[in-house]
Amino acid sequence: MKNHFRSLTSMRWPLFIVGATGLTVFLALSATISASAGGDPVAAVNASQNSEVAPVQTAATEAILAHQSMGAPMNSAALRPNAGAARAAAKNGATALSAPDAALAKGDVQQRSSAADAAFAKAFGSASSGLKAREQTRLNNVKALLSDPDFRFIDSGVSAITYDSTSVSGNTAVTVAHVVTWSQFQDKDQAGKWHEASPENTIIVTTTLSKSGSTWKVSDLTWTFATGSAP
């Protein structure tokens, strides 16, 4: 199904040329529609013609934010820029600290951990077993990190989500998005010195959703680092 969507998405321009001749091509050729970022005129037409694009992207965004929370609990489901780069610059990057200079209070850690549990249940409750297992592993890993005395979690977030394509076919939808993720943390090395990191990476997230009643739910979510943005 995913390849089918992709093949249609790749045909957007030829379809537009046909459409310009006056044929009503999109509904006639396929029930699948696509919406793309970047001012693609065909995408704009499709998006306006299909009221499902917005709710699909809303559900996908919720899943993407939940995914990030599974790996590094956020304090908000809103998009936020990475403040870590400025922090790192102020600290001269690789300079070691004699003690952690920033960390969440235990109460905050517990609150975020609980919020991550809730986000997992809400976003991935109807997901495939494979996705559930992957996200559960992320959640378990981050909980282990949060309890590690040599680790200080500071913050995490998603600063941008750009949808490259959104395809809807009946009760199934697939979105592809570039997502900018970040986290901030400190580690203690074997000499007792603390080091801060604030990685920011762009990942390409492919989300598959199914419609149950009037609600779109994520059934699978895979991702890879964008070229040039891997660790």
Binding site: T137, R138, N141, V142, D150, S183, P199, N201, F225
Partner: protein, 195 residues
């Protein structure tokens, strides 16, 4: 990679082996970690191409030229008209790992670790010149490779321990788990060690 291997002097297969020079491989990796050797192709995702070059730099012979590019028993790159031809195993991390497992002498799996690991050292059996493979946990399996080249302080992160050289993103002496660079480190990210 601690077994006898051949020095590649051309694209022709030369299975007669001499010892794999792990320090030679590391020296090549150090020399080209932040650059591109025009004697080889360069890819947008260049990690495995870079590790393959370093293996050759350590005396690892190309295998199977000009046989199938898709068969992971083969591992080679060669000029082809105005560009290059190469095997999957030369340019793709999962295929290189399969080649190393199948090839004799090749490589041996030496365990795995979480990408969120802050452990100072890689397993003791993993030494300079060995290859590390990474599964980021996004569902696509192993998709990255680097070469362990020594130990010390990662100049960019300040982390201390074993470090690696890699391409895309190009890094020299990066902390082995890449944890300081990975906003997705708590994923199912796994590092596989080949020695």
């Amino acid at each position: 990679m601690g077994l006898a291997l051949a020095l590649a002097t051309s694209v022709a297969v030369a299975p007669n082996a001499s010892a794999y020079d792990k320090y030679g491989a590391a020296a090549y990796a150090d020399a080209w970690a932040l650059g591109r050797n025009r004697a080889y192709p360069s890819f947008g995702s260049d990690c495995t191409n870079f590790v393959s070059q370093a293996l050759v730099g350590g005396g690892f012979s190309m295998v199977g030229y000009p046989k199938s590019t898709t068969d992971d028993h083969n591992w080679w790159v060669a000029p082809h008209y105005w560009w290059w031809d190469w095997t999957y195993s030369w340019s793709s991390a999962s295929h290189l790992r399969q080649f190393l497992i199948w090839h004799v002498p090749g490589g041996y799996s030496q365990g795995q670790a979480s990408g969120s690991s802050a452990s100072t050292w890689t397993p003791s059996s993993v030494v300079t010149g060995d290859v590390l493979f990474y599964d980021w946990g996004g569902g696509e399996g192993i998709s990255h490779a680097s070469m362990q080249v020594g130990w010390g302080t990662d100049p960019n992160s300040g982390w201390y321990g074993n470090y690696v050289d890699q391409h895309t993103t190009d890094r020299r002496h990066a902390f082995w788990s890449l944890r300081p660079y990975n906003s997705q480190m708590a994923s199912t990210t796994t590092v596989y060690f080949m020695t």
